[in-house]
């Protein structure tokens, strides 16, 4: 019996299981939260070691990026991210993973056309729209200050 595309779409929806939100949401919250706690712990440690607030923040970010790149290189970050979801995607570690993963993956195509050219295939849009949004907000802020 021939089906219309709309009927088929209904059948597809019926057969396709949904994401188990009751599992994925708490896991994302806990794992993402742990990454943030680690960041706070690092910040406290660097402050305790005598760095001023601005430097302690920068070094905390650098340390988290290092951890993420290290775990990505050893193929462990994606195993954590499988459970972490947005909890590992949203913090700076997720951004680092999205740059390091293609850089490593495409090194077989060479350092120029592979590693360098493909490094931003995932992070590129974040950078483009992040910068674009910050410029727009900057202009709005400037206009408000003129008033």
């Amino acid at each position: 019996m021939k089906m219309t595309n709309a009927e088929y779409d209904k059948l597809t929806k019926k057969a396709s299981p949904n994401t188990k939100l009751y599992l994925t949401l708490p896991k994302a919250f806990v794992i993402g939260g742990l990454i943030c706690c680690l960041g706070q712990a690092l910040f406290n440690l660097y402050s305790y070691w005598g760095l001023n607030e601005m430097n302690a923040r920068s070094v905390t970010s650098i340390t988290l990026i290092f951890f993420s790149a290290f775990l990505t290189g050893f193929g462990l970050y994606d195993k954590i991210a499988k459970h972490g979801g947005a909890g590992t995607l949203v913090p700076i570690t997720g951004f680092a993973n999205s740059v390091v993963a293609p850089a490593l993956e495409f090194k077989t195509e060479g350092f120029v056309l592979g590693t360098a050219a493909k490094m931003f295939i995932i992070a590129g849009p974040v950078i483009v729209y992040g910068i674009a949004a910050s410029v727009i907000y900057g202009i709005i802020l400037y206009l408000f200050q003129l008033m």
Binding site: L11, A15, S16, L104
Partner: protein
């Protein structure tokens, strides 16, 4: 001989005289792990790129099939080979040292049935004495081409399928011993407007339904005439949909239906979501497990309908839907 509407009866009943399968680490840990002729714990197979690893897997399947059948490369008149990668590069690289007339095929995950059907038709029509059908897929080479880098921390949806790291090869010769190829049905493009690249099962279910029902109608057979109707890799979602599509016609296939994507992995223990996929999935299940059972006559009449989602990332990103296809090969012990 053409019966009608894409169904061809192979009157001389060509034989699958030799077959071999090769599989990667995760596949070797699955329920069929012991069936494969070759397994590896190192999915690189000692190569510098995933594409080369896949080529090597295909070569291993081919050379193992040759030696199991007592063939030398000179005995093979034509080779039908395919894989998932652009320009079918795993197949062409794998075959470059063979000096065998080569036909490269792309039918996505349906390629094993496509190549086996063509090899059967060539032998039946005496265009070849021995024809090889060989296909492969590799999780890592497919991921980097179709999706994300392997180490990228993304989450997969429940409907997503796992591309098998596996290869299979079948060599078809003139009638001598089972399994015999009785008939084949060439698939048509079925596009039901599915755009979700993470739901290949849904994109392919209609194609499987169309090809299987055409095959049954054109050869005047019933579902009950078969011990097994084996779809390529519909996975859980596609298999459920296929059963539902048949149910609308008042036909229940669940007693004889199984799916290579559900057989290759243990979905409870292995993290494959809706099941396996990739050319190597149906190839390794057929060549590792099913052909042997037909040869030993534990299975007598099997309809092998491998299914392919002909997904191009380019047109998918342009919002176009994913065409599906399924080719069927009827294999029997008599």
């Amino acid at each position: 001989m053409l019966i009608k509407d894409g169904t061809i009866a192979l009157d001389s009943l060509p034989s699958v005289t030799a077959y071999a399968s090769a599989a990667g680490k995760m596949e070797s840990e699955g329920p069929l792990g012991k069936c494969f002729d070759f397994t590896t714990q190192d999915n690189t197979l000692g190569e510098v790129s995933w594409e080369k690893s896949e080529s090597k897997l295909q070569q291993i399947a081919f050379t193992t099939a040759l030696s199991k059948g007592g063939f030398s490369q000179k005995d093979i008149d034509v080779m039908f080979a395919g894989d998932l990668l652009n320009q079918c590069v795993s197949s062409s690289s794998g075959a470059k040292d063979t000096n065998i007339p080569f036909v490269g095929l792309f039918g996505a995950c349906s390629t094993m049935a496509e190549s086996l059907a063509l090899a059967g038709i060539f032998v039946d029509s005496k265009a070849a004495n021995n024809a090889a059908a060989v296909t492969s897929s590799h999780f890592c080479s497919a991921e980097r081409q179709f999706r994300f880098p392997v180490n990228y921390g993304g989450q997969r949806t429940p409907t997503a399928q796992w591309t098998a790291t596996a290869a299979g090869c079948a060599i078809v010769s003139s009638h001598c011993k089972p399994p015999y190829i009785r008939s084949v049905t060439i698939g048509k493009i079925n596009d039901m407007g599915v755009t979700d690249a993470n739901n290949m099962g849904a994109a392919m279910a209609e194609a499987a339904y169309d090809t299987i029902s055409r095959h049954l109608a054109n050869t005047a057979q019933q579902v009950s005439d078969f011990d097994l109707i084996l779809t390529g890799d519909l996975g859980q979602v596609g298999s459920d949909m296929l059963k539902e599509l048949f149910k609308r016609d008042g036909v229940d296939i669940s007693a004889v239906h199984n799916d290579c994507g559900l057989m290759l992995y243990d979905r409870e223990k292995q993290d494959v979501h809706a099941g396996g996929s990739g050319c190597g999935c149906s190839a390794s299940v057929l060549c590792g497990c099913i052909l042997k059972q037909i040869e030993q006559r534990t299975l007598k009449n099997v309809l092998f309908a491998a299914t392919g989602a002909l997904m191009s990332p380019t047109i998918n990103q342009q919002g176009e839907s994913i065409p599906g296809i399924s080719h069927a090969v009827q294999l029997s012990a008599q």
